[in-house]
C-alpha cells in the first residue's frame, strides 16, 4: 500500500475542513504533507485522525506540517493552561526571567510568533513578553 493510500482518509479530511495550499509528496518511505488550516481545531482533528490511522504515529512515516491560518499578529488568544496562570517571560526560553503572569482563561493579544514554541504577547494589563504557545489558543 502506498503511503498516500494509507493516509487517504487524512488527506480527504484536510480538504473537507478547508485546508489550502496543500502539498502531498511521497519520498524515501515518508509522506510529506504541508497545508494551511483555518484554525487550531482543524489542526488538532487532523492529528487525531493521523494517530488513529497510524497507532500513535510511531511509524514515523508521515511528516505533517500544518500552518494555522488565524495565528497571526493581532489575533486574540485565550490562555488555555490546565490550572495555573501562564508565565510571561522576558525572552523566548525557559532560561529567560518571568516578568509576569496571564490568568487562565484570560485574553491576550498575539504580537509575534517568535517560533513554534514561543509567542510574543500582550496581556490585558499591557504587559508584553513571551509565553509558551502550547497554552495559547487563538479565539
Amino acid at each position: 500500500m502506498s503511503l498516500q493510500a494509507k493516509y487517504q482518509e487524512l488527506i480527504d479530511a484536510a480538504n473537507a475542513s478547508g485546508a489550502s495550499a496543500m502539498s502531498v509528496n511521497e519520498e524515501n518511505g515518508v509522506l510529506l504533507v504541508t497545508a494551511k488550516v483555518p484554525n487550531a481545531e482543524v489542526h488538532d482533528n487532523l492529528f487525531e485522525i493521523y494517530n488513529r490511522i497510524d497507532s500513535n504515529g510511531l511509524s514515523g512515516d508521515l511528516i505533517m506540517n500544518l500552518e494555522i491560518a488565524n495565528e497571526v499578529a493581532g489575533a486574540n488568544c485565550t490562555v488555555t493552561t490546565e490550572d495555573t496562570a501562564l508565565n510571561v517571560r522576558s525572552g523566548p526560553s525557559t532560561d529567560d526571567q518571568v516578568i509576569g503572569m496571564a490568568d487562565k482563561g484570560s485574553s491576550v493579544t498575539l504580537l509575534e510568533k517568535t517560533n513554534e514554541q514561543w509567542w510574543k504577547i500582550r496581556t490585558s494589563n499591557g504587559l508584553e513578553g513571551y509565553s509558551y504557545s502550547q497554552y495559547l489558543t487563538v479565539e
Binding site: V30, F47, N51, G57, L58, G60, T94
Partner: protein
Amino acid sequence: MFESITIEKNKMKKINVFAMLLAVVALSFGVTGCKPKDADIKAAVEKALTEKGMEGMTADVKEGVVTLTGECKDDACKTSCTDIAKGVKGVKEVVSNCTVKPAPMPVEKAEDATLVKALADAIKSYATIKGEVKDGGFVLSGTIAQKDWKQLQQVLPKLGSTKKGDFSGLTIK
C-alpha cells in the same frame, strides 16, 4: 730480433700515451659534458612530477642535489615525489621540503547541525526521552506520557526533517 722488440716497446709507449690522453679527454668530458646541467635536471624533475600527477612542485637543483618544494596531499605522495625525483638522470640526492596538507575535518552537514539543535530544543522539556539525528531523520527513544507525545508529535514536523522518523525505541505511557 732486438730491433723488433724495441719497435714494439716504442709502439706500446705511444699506445700508452695515447690511451692516457684518451682517458684524460674522456674524464674531462665526463666532468663537464655527459652529466646533465642543473637547469636540465630541474626541468626533467618538474616534468616527471607533473606527468605523474603531482602539480605545483618546484625543484631547485644545485650540482645534482634536488630540493623539492610544494604541497603534497599526504605522506605517501611526499615519498612518491622524492622517489620520482631520484629516478631522474643526474640527480645525486633529493631533499624534500614538501609539506603535507592536513586531513580535512569531517564536517557535519549544515542541515544536520540545524536539525540536531532544533531537536534538542524540542525535547528539552521531556526529560525521559533521548533524540538524535541520523541521515536527516529523527531517532527518538525512551518513555513519554501520552499527552506529552501528542504535543511533541505536532512540533516535530516543523523542525525541518524530511526523512522518515525512527520512533521504535519510544514507549508511550
